[in-house]
Amino acid sequence: MPNKSVWTFAEQSEGRLKSVSYELLTRGRQLADKLNTDLCAVALGKSINIRDINELIHRGADIVYLVQHPMLKHFLVEPYSQAIEYLVKKYAPDIFIAGATTVGRTLMPYLAIKVNTGLTADCTGLDIEPETGNLLQTRPAIGGNIMATIKTPDHRPQMATVRPKSTNPPPIDESRQGEIIEVQVPQDLLHTKVERLGFKSIEDDEGNLEDAEKVVAGGRGLKKAENFDLIRELAEKLDAAVGASRDAVDRGWISYPHQVGLSGKTVNPQLYIAIGISGSIQHLAGMKTSETIIAINSDPDAQIFQVADLGIVGDLFEVVPAVVEELEKRKK
């Protein structure tokens, strides 16, 4: 039996694993290598695509624990938590990480209480403390002004969630070998009184801002409503959602659900492009934790450049079309 292994949660929907399931293997592999232990993925569902399960191994898992049961077809917190609790007691992992999706954000805090351990949400960094082998969990605290490093010294497993899309999945190596262990969880653990009555999927043409991995946002620098088409065009090229400053919203150039900031939405994407936005404190409050920030503004002293990883000082009406054209050229 593997000792003190590192576990990742392989999340599925309709029998297919979600991309976050593979991404987590990148984090898990690094930790398992440092601890010189096995990396295990845990997959729960009903008839999960076997090619996806093999892909977990091809991308770095040593063992896949697979639990399949009709009760696990859709995520419901009680049976999922009870099944994993059973596995945790049986195999005693040292570390368990999941994606900070709606499933991860529901399952993990519930499970952490049931197995009596701590949980750190939305970690941006995971590492091993060399002296103790403890997991070091780094996350932004309090609006992103500070980073906190957190440990779970006396409880196991050490649990954390990380944001989807925060790492790339490891490459596929079809020669990699691993083991798939089908675990039968006792029937009496797979129950819930909650009924799932239905599901209605949403298609939002401009994307769900809060969950978007990329956001292109415009502000007062756009000068009038029609010019927001520039923002939309760039957003479309990048497959990004459209955001806005309050000034742009107040002027009626775009609707309120697009507002980013203190009195609008908080976003935390991989990429935020601020165009014609000055970078007021209130706007920064809604986006400054973004992984990468790019700013386009004609004023070299605009505060937005303080938080930018890349800035272009120039007229947005020239820069944005040039960027769109360049991206178009590179399209494969």
């Binding site: 709606t102 701590g118 906190a148 120039g314 040039a322 590179r330």
Partner: protein, 265 residues
């Protein structure tokens, strides 16, 4: 219908000070408000009460001044409030907070629905709602966007997940964490404020909720903050000035940057 709403008092702005040695927040001298996301929990509780009558009890764990958060909830129309306060609770992580709040709820006795915010704007974890449900073994709906129906001892809700809206039916008692879509919070009324001022708000310590001393506060917290650092306020990014480079070069550089970071494929 008996509803319990746990609310948290949080600092007003992002302008928070940190005790670098202890890794905890310095709450003195910062203006405090009700966690903005908890106002949605309060509002939907009020709407359910208006439809079905009953009572709303607000509970908050925090320093003595968190009483003002409870009074604000009362001025919006909540009926009762309990403040959980004691030095022993200081430094609680989400495990210890969920434990202490679940003990409080047990002490309050009968309840049909517990409604929490989806997350608090200071700690920003969203773990306390599911944590309370786990301690009390309650059916749970997170990210709840609408309450559709209450009948035959069951609540039908919609919850917003990545790909759409899921409908769940939960037997009561149950716990809901709610998102902004669920309601639009009302403002406190003058009459509500007057009523709130005259209400007794009991302050309970660990004994009152029969909590084990070693399970509350910093001692009861599995998770420890070991280091705090302040990333530079400026990201020190690269700034290209079009008065110094050409438009084409700038556009190329931006596109390269996106490709290198795997943000454009």
């Amino acid at each position: 219908m008996q509803i319990i709403v746990p609310i948290k008092q949080v600092p007003e702005t992002g302008n928070v000070k940190i005790d670098e040695a202890k890794g905890t927040m310095v709450r003195d001298g910062v203006e405090s408000i009700v966690n903005p996301l908890d106002l949605y929990a309060i509002e939907i509780a009020l709407q359910l009460k208006e439809k079905r009558s009953g009572k709303i009890t607000v509970i908050s764990m925090g320093p003595p001044k968190a009483e003002t958060a409870i009074r604000e909830a009362m001025s919006m129309g909540c009926d009762e409030g309990v403040l959980i306060t004691d030095r022993a609770f200081a430094g609680s992580d989400t495990w210890a907070t969920s434990y202490s709040l679940s003990k409080t709820i047990k002490k309050l006795g009968h309840y049909d629905i517990i409604i929490t915010g989806v997350r608090a704007t200071d700690g920003d974890t969203g773990q306390v709602g599911p944590g309370i449900a786990a301690f009390l073994d309650l059916p749970l709906s997170t990210f709840t966007s609408a309450v559709k129906d209450i009948s035959d001892g069951k609540v039908t809700v919609e919850r917003l997940i990545e790909s759409g809206y899921e409908t769940l039916r939960l037997p009561m008692p149950c716990l809901l964490t709610v998102i902004r879509e669920i309601s639009y919070p009302r403002l406190p009324t003058l009459r509500g404020k007057q009523r709130a001022r005259s209400k007794e708000i009991p302050a309970w310590g660990p004994e009152n909720i029969e909590a084990q001393k070693n399970l509350v506060g910093i001692n009861g917290s599995p998770v420890k903050v070991v280091k705090i650092n302040r990333p530079k306020v400026t990201r020190g990014g690269k700034i290209l000035d079009l008065s110094k480079t050409t438009l084409e070069e700038a556009a190329k550089e931006l596109a390269d940057y996106l490709e290198n970071k795997n943000l454009y494929k």
